[in-house]
């Protein structure tokens, strides 16, 4: 009986200790979305993050933080239990019912837009920097990206070559998905001076073998994880449908880090420049 009472007292004490953390002590941010996390670190607010989602893989410190799961399948109570003062979430975060529950619990949750445009990179930086009170650094970051993309656009405009690029994404079994219109892949290919070879549809869709041949890509673009899942660059180029394309004949395949290429965070210009250099071997960038 006495043991039971002392256990109860210990539980109550522990709970009280958990609750008495002063609210003013420090900002506790839960960052949901790879780009949001990168922006926070770039703004120097990384030490205020208490948890991230599983897509937050960069910088190296990010994936070492507690993870609240995949951004599309979040759970409300564990996030609330982290006692965040602010949750910043990518527009893809969900499910919607959980977002609503978190807000109803009185936790501040801000969502950035989800559209895969360059304008949205600046918008995300603007929103996040305003939320953490680092507007000056945010403006600087956005300006740097704008400058880099402008000089890239000028360099790319000087060369006439516009290779057709097919972006392939492997998600488990079945045929790989191709990145159509209104995808991050489509935007980054355009920035790098390429033409999306799969522009006939919107979003990421499974593309049949004959569709790959008909798309006539000059270059195959994949992220590192897809390359690994499909068995490496050589195996991809040897696939019958790809071997039959100009890209297959010229053995042109580009593999890039997934979060760098499609994250659309602070490294958007870096990604666009790297892709441009690999699409146009003769390109000169300052």
């Amino acid at each position: 009986m006495r043991t039971a009472r002392s256990i109860f007292a210990a539980v109550a004490l522990a709970a009280a200790a958990g609750l008495s953390t002063p609210a003013s002590a420090a900002e506790r941010i839960v960052s949901i979305g790879g780009a949001i996390t990168e922006i926070l670190y770039t703004l120097g607010a990384g030490d205020r993050i208490v948890a991230v989602d599983t897509t937050s893989l960069y910088p190296e410190a990010a994936p070492k933080l507690p993870q609240v799961g995949y951004l599309r399948s979040l759970a409300a109570e564990p996030i609330i239990a982290l006692k965040p003062t602010l949750i910043i979430a990518d527009g893809d975060a969900g499910p919607p019912a959980v977002i609503k529950q978190i807000r109803e619990a009185g936790v501040r949750l801000e969502v950035t837009p989800a559209d895969p445009s360059v304008a949205n990179v600046y918008e995300k930086i603007r929103i996040v920097s305003a939320l953490v009170g680092e507007e000056a650094k945010g403006n600087e970051l956005a300006e740097a990206i704008r400058r880099d993309l402008r000089s890239l656009a000028k360099a790319v405009a000087a060369i006439p070559d516009r290779p057709r690029v097919l972006f392939l994404l492997s998600v488990g079994r079945g045929s790989p998905l191709a990145g159509g219109n209104e995808t991050h892949a489509d935007t980054i290919i355009a920035l790098a001076g390429g033409v999306n070879a799969a522009a006939g549809f919107t979003g990421y869709k499974p593309i049949p073998a004959e569709g790959v041949v008909a798309a006539r890509p000059d270059v195959i673009l994949v992220v590192d994880r897809t390359a690994a899942a499909l068995g490496g660059e050589k195996v991809i180029l040897a696939r019958a449908e790809i071997a039959a394309t100009p890209a297959g004949r010229a053995k042109r395949i580009v593999t890039m880090d997934g979060l760098l290429l499609l994250g659309f965070g602070p490294r958007t210009a870096v990604a666009a420049r790297e892709l441009a250099l690999r699409l146009h071997p003769g390109l000169r960038l300052d």
Binding site: V11, A12, A14, A15, G18, L19, A51, T54, P66, Q67, V68, G69, Y70, R72, S73, A75, A76, E77, P78, I79, I80, A81, L82, D92, P95, P96, A97, V98, Q101, E104, A105, G106, V107, L169, V171, G172, G174, S175, L177, G203, Y204, K205, P206
Partner: protein
């Protein structure tokens, strides 16, 4: 000699009655414990005193344990509806499993067998991949998926039932095979949609197929409760009919039961309840199939104990699995479909192995 035999029979009957009472009490205790643990334990620490305070405040009584509004929301708007949905879904799946196993006289019967789950899954997947048009466009966005799943589940059962019914007689064996066929066709349809889905839809789809109690609100719970409670309350009333069915369909008829009508009522109750449950939680396996067998191994095949004990044990298993789902990988959450089997499976195997020398299924 004759007197001592009848004494033995009487004693055996008394033992059975006492055993039944013990089993029901045990199942009820298990359910109560898992319900309170589930409501009291989670990522956010809320003490029993605070829970009392929060509940009393709803009735206008103020108690000395203080709590924050965030704790109140977590308990009342997030955890409590989830626990209630878990209890309801667990109870419904086990009740439907027990009565369908009895009705079909087949140990492998469960709500999935009559097509509810696969019909609901096909409709849900179609809704995710194709988007919602037609009638669904008039339903609030967050209710579209459950409504589609519910309609899909009922449509599949109706088809199965239709195929097995001729001249007002529903042939159980045909129904079993029709269920297998419909499940296969729905599986093919799901495969086609999975093939045509993009990465976002695939994620959403996997989430639904593994089941989850997350994100439920009182508003979403209410229609499920209205549709599922009749099965929990009424199915146990068919215990004698299902006991008779164990002897065979014609024997049941000779015993004076209205076989055709009762069959239809049981199937309708199970279809509506399981459809409502699946529409709210996605597909959660194991409970409907295995919980009734666990109870049979403990208490024998008589439905008067089997049905109520299965309902309570099903709810208890679901809630226990959900405690693990909610807390094992904090601050994230596991899909509960993985855990129902992990929690219940080893226990079931232990029971089976222990029984190997002791006789067969029934």
């Amino acid at each position: 000699m004759g007197a001592s035999l009848s004494l033995d029979v009487q004693r055996a009957a008394g033992d059975r009655r006492r055993g039944r009472a013990r089993l029901l009490a045990g199942a009820a205790g298990l359910f109560a414990v898992s319900f309170f643990l589930s409501a009291g334990y989670g990522a956010v620490t809320i003490t029993p005193g605070q829970i009392l305070s929060i509940l009393a405040a709803q009735a206008g009584i103020s108690l000395p344990w203080s709590y924050t509004s965030a704790e109140e929301t977590v308990f009342l708007a997030i955890r409590l509806p989830r626990v209630c949905l878990g209890a309801l879904a667990g109870g419904v799946l086990a009740a439907c499993g027990a009565s369908l196993q009895g009705l079909f006289r087949n140990p492998l019967a469960d709500p999935a067998l009559i097509g509810v789950s696969s019909g609901a899954a096909l409709a849900a997947v179609a809704c995710i991949v194709l988007g919602s048009g037609g009638i669904l466009a008039h339903v609030g966005a967050e209710y579209r998926l459950p409504v589609a799943a519910f309609i899909g589940g009922l449509a599949a059962v109706w088809l199965v039932n239709r195929m097995a019914t001729q001249n007002g007689h529903t042939d159980i064996a045909t129904m079993l095979l029709a269920g297998v066929a419909i499940n296969a066709i729905c599986g093919a349809g799901i495969g086609a949609f999975v093939f045509a889905s993009d990465d976002q839809q695939l994620r959403q789809l996997n989430f639904w197929m593994l089941g989850s109690l997350g994100g439920v609100t009182w508003g979403k719970l209410l229609p499920v409760a209205v549709l599922a409670l009749p099965a929990i309350l009424l199915l146990p009333a068919f215990a004698r009919f299902l006991d008779a069915m164990l002897l065979g369909e014609s024997e049941t008829l000779y015993l004076g039961f209205e076989v055709e009508r009762t069959k239809k009522i049981i199937i309708a109750l199970a279809a509506v309840a399981a459809g409502a449950s699946v529409s709210a939680t996605g597909i959660i396996g194991f409970i409907g199939l295995v919980v009734p067998h666990v109870i049979r191994l403990l208490a024998g095949p008589g439905h008067r104990a089997l049905l109520p004990a299965s309902i309570m044990a099903g709810a208890a298993l679901m809630l226990t699995a959900d405690i693990f789902a909610r807390t094992l990988v904090l601050p994230a959450e596991l899909p509960i479909g993985i855990l129902t089997a992990c929690v219940g499976g080893p226990f079931f195997i232990w029971l089976l192995v222990r029984r190997v020398g002791g006789g067969g299924w029934s």
